[in-house]
């Protein structure tokens, strides 16, 4: 297969000039119906495929948006991606997804490549939102929007959900239901989300006049189902009178693992252990003991982020904005007997 005929070959085959072929491609109305017909046939015969590199080199711009996901296997992020996709489609851009799998190195490799590809904009849920490599990409001219994180300085657009508030909601809900010993399960401790939710939890806890010692943190290494199960074992190992009566998990993956392990150990949910998750992914509601969870507007998050990056890419008067959405507690069977 002589890989790929060029515009020149098509022109020769159709007996027209190369400029005409280009016109057929880009301004079909400028060219008479029968030449157009002839050119199109030649393209089909030769299996012509427009060379996007050359197009882009000349035109200077690409028609794609990119989202660098933190963890493609977490449904939360695929829902965010879905929202981005919707907005991208509406703007007639295509979306490519990259997965950093929680690795800063992979993230940087992806960013570098996307930058070289001159994508219109990059959306990213970074491993570390304060990483300098994000600044550099932005400084060199590619619009960057941080998704589901924020950073202290306001040097980027970002779209996130108020995690401190989310933590507060979860704890208020549990205290309302009479729980007096609660575990917070999640990690790694450095992770922004994990910290904010913990902070919110603590704030609510002490605002309600509870002794700090009764809200304990059970760290995990990552936010996964397996880690949730593992935490469940640790809980099950505690003597019943010292065991918390409720757990607030930093995300639903952890909560689902915990739920599974608890039931497997004969701990009744919610009677002996109430569980609150975070994200409200679809599988949370679908768990056999449907999970109470702090819902984030996942698709909206993505859609908004896409709109911000497009604004930055096209609007000269763009100014950075930090959008913060409000989470909402969805009560289900895992906390309400």
């Amino acid at each position: 297969m002589a890989r790929s005929a060029s515009v020149k070959d098509v022109a020769a085959a159709a007996g027209v000039s190369l400029g005409t072929v280009s016109n057929v491609l880009n301004r079909p109305d400028r060219v008479s119906p029968d030449t157009r017909e002839r050119v199109l046939r030649a393209m089909a015969d030769l299996g012509f495929v427009r060379n996007e590199s050359a197009r882009q080199l000349r035109a200077g711009s690409s028609r794609t948006l990119a989202y660098v996901m933190l963890d493609a296997s977490n449904p939360f992020f695929t829902d965010v991606a879905q929202g981005i996709d919707t907005a991208a489609e509406a703007a007639d851009l295509s979306l490519v997804l990259c997965n950093s799998r929680n690795s800063g190195d992979r993230e940087q490799a992806h960013l570098a490549l996307l930058e070289q590809q001159r994508v219109q904009g990059i959306l990213v849920t970074p491993v570390d939102p304060d990483s300098a490599s994000l600044d550099e990409v932005a400084r060199r001219g590619t619009p960057v929007v941080v998704v589901d994180r924020t950073r202290a300085d306001q040097s980027f657009c970002s779209v996130a959900v108020d995690d401190v508030l989310g933590g507060r909601l979860a704890i208020e809900h549990l205290v309302e239901r009479g729980h007096t010993r609660v575990a917070y399960i999640g990690g790694p401790p450095g992770l922004g989300q994990v910290e904010d939710r913990w902070r919110g939890a603590q704030e609510a806890w002490s605002a309600l006049g509870r002794p700090g010692a009764d809200l304990v943190q059970l760290p995990t290494t990552v936010l996964s189902v397996a880690e949730g199960r593992e935490a469940g074992q640790r809980l099950a190992g505690l003597p019943a009178r010292r065991r918390p009566t409720a757990a607030f998990c930093a995300n639903d993956l952890v909560a689902l693992g915990l739920l599974q392990q608890a039931i497997g150990s004969g701990i009744r949910v919610p009677e002996e252990l109430a569980i609150v998750g975070y994200d409200d992914i679809e599988f949370a509601a679908a768990a056999a003991v449907p999970l109470t969870s702090v819902r984030q507007p996942r698709q909206l998050l993505g859609r908004t982020a896409a709109e911000l990056v497009l604004d930055e890419a096209t609007n000269a008067e763009h100014t950075h904005r930090q959008v913060l959405f409000t989470p909402e507690l969805v009560a289900r069977a895992s906390t309400t007997s």
Copy 2:
């Protein structure tokens, strides 16, 4: 921001020729340490970002692989993607993900763009494996490998799992456990997977001497949690003596929805309704009644597909191969009381 300095600017700034800058980029050993140093500094100062379009235009090849997923929100596919990613990384290629969201149009749009981008190869789980647009892409020279599907003729490499066998395993397992009335739940009926699993189920059922009327098909519109719930309602509506004692679901999403709905309707699992899912996604084991499921080697599927496409891209003697993996039934609580 004067978007992007070129190699020429760098050359001028560093006081060297443009060829030398290119050498620094591509064959750093060919250039003396102090010029290299000088060039690198100039690059940093100017915020130089190599223009991938120009590179690719000249070099003719890109360093990326693409996977067009059928449904990014199904963990099965993200696991496959993970496997592809692993192989791509090993070959020093980067992977971009596209999501067709079950739409043939979107799939075609993605394919066209990827072809124009001259990606090294395309992996795709197609909406319809017999679609002619796949042939055209392949005919024009981009290696295409079909993932998790096969087509009748052998015009592509493909990597799939023996779905007929999978269906057989599920039914044999249920019959072994004494079930005599079983429902098969899944759809749309035209979908390859859905059909093959159903066929396997029927084969096993009659091979075991059961009357065909006792294996009923409950079609759904798509394979989702919501549809599973909906099917659950239909089942719950049946009078207990006519209700099947077991359900075999075309995938785990459906099975999880069914499980949830069953429990919500007070049907005990597995005592009153045994459930077998398909795919063995992580959430299957994590369900509060852990789900018996037909496991597919998801990551291996992806890895193998990536290897095939790489072979096709680089090896002149490449011949198409149809790899068929063997599924395996994982028995859990949803069928074993």
